[in-house]
Point group: C2
Chain length 559, copies 2
């Protein structure tokens, strides 16, 4: 009897595992069970299908059942697997529609059941025009609803990346968009400063953003949603997109007695094998290891699912592939902003017991003299004790993805900032400044490790300006044209070139904080002040790049 | 007496060293000597200034003498340093123009004398309209000559990256451009296949490319160049750009008795200190270490010069910075092609005693369904013995720079292809396919290490088709539309889907080589053939992507 491999779940990890297993073993019987009517589609492309950027629905389908058949892989759609009988090596399921029960024998089993959207138990959640976006069928429903007209105001509940991708798509379609987020910031995986930059950008693009606003209920008219009620607001709306995140789909695994990890996803070893031999799990239903903290994490992503699928495909054929874990690398686009992250944020690093320091620099995509420049703001984080790079964030129209990929590789290498200053990255004027922004940031971090100048975050400065104004002076060392455009209220303006002659104006007893546009001139100013005997001098990390609070003249927000 | 730092050379490494030294030591006296009338300019931007892409000459100047003065750094232009008196710690020089001699005392000295263009000793080399492109004054001369009219045909001697950047600039200006290269290929640091892809692209852009053509003489009329004579040709020309490469400017160092390295550049240790204490060298005049081979190399680049300048700036102030070396990373743009490399080529790896294997894949910049896709052809090279990544090359309109930066980081990490398959790179549809092309290539390499299917290069296949046609069969497994567009002559066409049923048509005694467009379908075809008992089966690395030779129908070149 030929070996029989069954795969439960047909979107990403499942099909990948099946395809790889076929290449490793041409004889094995392979079948994929899928609950939906579609298999092997690009879940990450759904926001772009709704917006019309991707015009043909079939473009989202990676491989058709016919292509799988060509490789001798059987696709069994519209079938829900309800039970795994471990001792008999059998799965038991029902056909969608007819309800007919069936069983199927396996030698090895792959669980790739994915994840499902969080559906909060609030009043009105079952009203019409309340949507989720997880499967291609969800996308079909949203697409059809929007096409059929009458939708003007859309409320997105949740400020994560799917919500932010959808904000772009909906504005693109001419809708009025409001984002409602429970946390004090959108994009909670990023630090407050970068989330602030994005929020201001979204507001310039016409998106209403409300944070610290938990939703309490949905109200309706004629069975359709008409209002979203939060703690402090009532928001008129024609449609709601619930984008509160997802949870791993582990019911089948749990019922079969497979070990569920501390993250709530299916526990697997490095070979992606579950607690029961011969049964593997991969993709959004499985947990993995964070390679910086060493802890188990659940970070569902299409790219990870594909890599894990390959590992499973090798191992079900007797191979010995491993999936060591992830760095938490992520990227998304909203309007023309490219937003990316790898490793830990400042907040996460602190929570993990590191002593993080940060460098925030301008992330240009080319030499300053080469026309057409695009810029992202780049943050690189290192541990103060060891200098080890812990993470990075990039946001803006520049090559955030490139910066973050370089940093992800630095994380894989456990590089320190002192090593990162000398990496041999590609330079020519159309591709990079002569020193990559990554290297500039690594230099800033190395300087901090050397104890040259201490940094202070914009958030801390704002707090001190509000609470300790008396003992605290902020010096703006920019040029006149920059200061006229916008400045931080209650600061002293002394252009960098005048500093030497005007030091007498400063109070040596007070804490001095210096800033410029991005941090270089203010760094040099701090060095000068220290040299002249000023004791308590700090440089604002990222300068105006990260100042997302009030400015003068009013209304002149960063931009 | 204050410590006195003198810097000889004011373009890149020198000014960087001075600026960093100033930040490390506010008291030190610092002066920069420069032979030209300009300092601190972007040598790498010159081709774009000539083409008009960069419109203002002053944009090329990074820092003016006034900016240096603000930091207390003295700029002494139009002064040629002719001697270093080591025992007296004095440099001796002459003012350009007046010829007046001067001396200056130093405590520490930085030599950043750069490099000069190779000027071959051939007949006619001193004719008018024969140019070099190294300094901003060279660029001025070329710019003025072109602006003043009468230049129609330009011959570029040398197919390196400066020549190729200038080819774009000159075509942009409406000139007729011919490249003459002594070697059998342009771009000799790249492998033959990638150089072939670029050559075909340049020819489509209207550039004449002649390889294996050593120039023998320049002929003139009325004192101006009119013809370039090569071994086999006489090329009519109004202007010649000699772009044969550069050599390190080491005369001053040599005369002072500093050790010159095996590469011909100034020997330095990891601290960038020369063989004499207190004298440092940095930038294009100094050699460094190749981090893969461990050998001394001379790879002059603006980015390296800046990093080395920083290291020197720290060390002249008593610091302990090191510059470990380079990976040979390089990138340039010609027309819309981004061409990049890091580490070793196949040829270089073989010469260094590695057993290199290669993966060549399509390097898309986004998910296949996300519109506006750009593509580079990507090659990743690993050592067959250890799996260690040795290098990579990327060429095309796609994100070659991003791919190569990721690979450069993999090289810094001494990663193997088996580790590279699982790196956590940023994925979202607008930024990358779900599996980064880097990871796809790493998978191909891992499969090769596993001995699944052997690869064969396009060059080897062409040779075998010419010399061993009898015992050799090439199978094209692409679809009809692809084959109709262009195909390799003397091959058998069996679409992948038909292979199973048509295996009988193949001769089991002969060597079989399979190809498709990029290598995936042919890989699967090879697996099928092996499974059916075919013994001698190989996959053409990169398929049609790397086939730069004759095709049918004729004239239907790649692209």
């Amino acid at each position: 009897m030929k070996k029989r491999l069954l795969v439960v779940g047909g979107v990403a990890a499942g099909p990948k595992a099946a395809a790889k297993a076929r290449r490793c073993d041409p004889e094995m019987e392979i079948a994929i069970y899928q609950e939906e009517d579609e298999i092997s589609y690009a879940g990450c492309g759904l926001p772009y299908y709704i917006s019309g950027v991707i015009q043909e629905r079939e473009d989202l389908i990676s491989r058709t059942p016919g292509k799988f058949a060509l490789e001798g892989i059987k696709i069994l759609k519209n079938r829900r697997i309800e039970k795994i009988d471990i001792s008999d090596h059998v799965i038991i399921g029902k056909r969608i529609g007819s309800g007919e029960t069936f069983t199927d024998r396996f030698d090895q089993l792959v669980i790739a059941t994915g994840a499902y959207p969080i559906r909060p138990k609030i009043e009105g959640i079952h009203l019409g025009n309340v949507f989720y976006l997880r499967s291609i069928l969800d996308a079909d429903a949203i697409y059809e609803r929007i096409q059929s007209g009458g939708i003007q105001n859309v409320t997105i509940v949740g400020g994560g990346y799917i919500g932010l991708e959808m904000a772009e798509s909906l504005i693109h379609l001419g809708k009025k968009v409001t984002i409602v987020e429970l946390a004090p910031q959108i994009l909670t995986l990023f630090d407050e400063d970068f989330a602030g930059i994005l929020r201001q950008y979204l507001e310039r693009k016409g998106v209403n953003v409300f944070t610290s606003e938990g939703i309490q209920a949905l109200e309706g008219k004629g069975g359709r949603v008409s209002h979203v009620t939060t703690v402090s607001k009532e928001i008129e709306t024609d449609m709601v997109l619930m984008s509160l995140g997802i949870r791993p789909q582990v019911e089948l695994a749990k019922q079969a007695g497979l070990r569920i990890g501390e993250t709530g996803a299916i526990w697997v070893n490095e070979k992606m094998e579950t607690s029961i031999e011969g049964i593997y799990a991969a993709g959004d239903c499985a947990e993995t290891t964070h390679l910086i903290t060493g802890k188990k994490v659940w970070i569902p992503l299409g790219s990870t699912a594909n890599k894990q699928g390959r590992v499973v495909g090798v191992n079900v054929c007797g191979g010995n592939a491993i999936f060591p874990g992830v760095m938490g690398t992520t990227v998304f686009k909203t309007f023309d902003f490219n937003v990316a992250k790898t490793g830990l944020s400042m907040r996460e690093a602190e929570m993990e017991g590191f002593r993080p320091i940060q460098a925030i620099v301008r992330g240009y995509d080319r030499a300053h003299y080469y026309p057409g420049e695009k810029e992202s703001t780049l943050k690189v984080i290192a541990d103060k004790g060891t200098g080890r790079i812990l993470g990075g964030q990039a946001i803006g129209e520049g090559p955030s993805d490139k910066f973050i990929d370089i940093l992800a590789m630095a994380l894989h290498d456990k590089m320190t900032c002192r090593e990162l200053v000398n990496v041999d990255l590609a330079y020519a004027p159309p591709f990079s400044p002569v020193l990559s922004p990554i290297i500039v940031a690594a230099n800033v971090l190395s300087n901090k490790l050397d104890g040259n100048v201490e940094g202070i975050s914009a958030a801390e400065v704002r707090e001190k300006l509000e609470t300790q104004k008396k003992n605290f002076q902020v010096i703006d060392v920019r040029e006149e044209d920059e200061v006229k455009e916008k400045r931080i209220p209650n600061t002293t303006w002394i252009p960098y070139g005048d500093l030497k002659n005007r030091m007498g104006e400063l109070d040596r007893e007070k804490e001095i904080v210096v800033h410029c546009e991005s941090g270089l001139r203010s760094y040099k100013a701090c060095l000068k002040l220290q040299h002249e005997g000023f004791q308590d001098v700090k440089n604002i990390d990222g300068g105006m790049l990260c100042w997302c609070y009030d400015v003068e003249p009013e209304g002149n927000e960063k931009g």
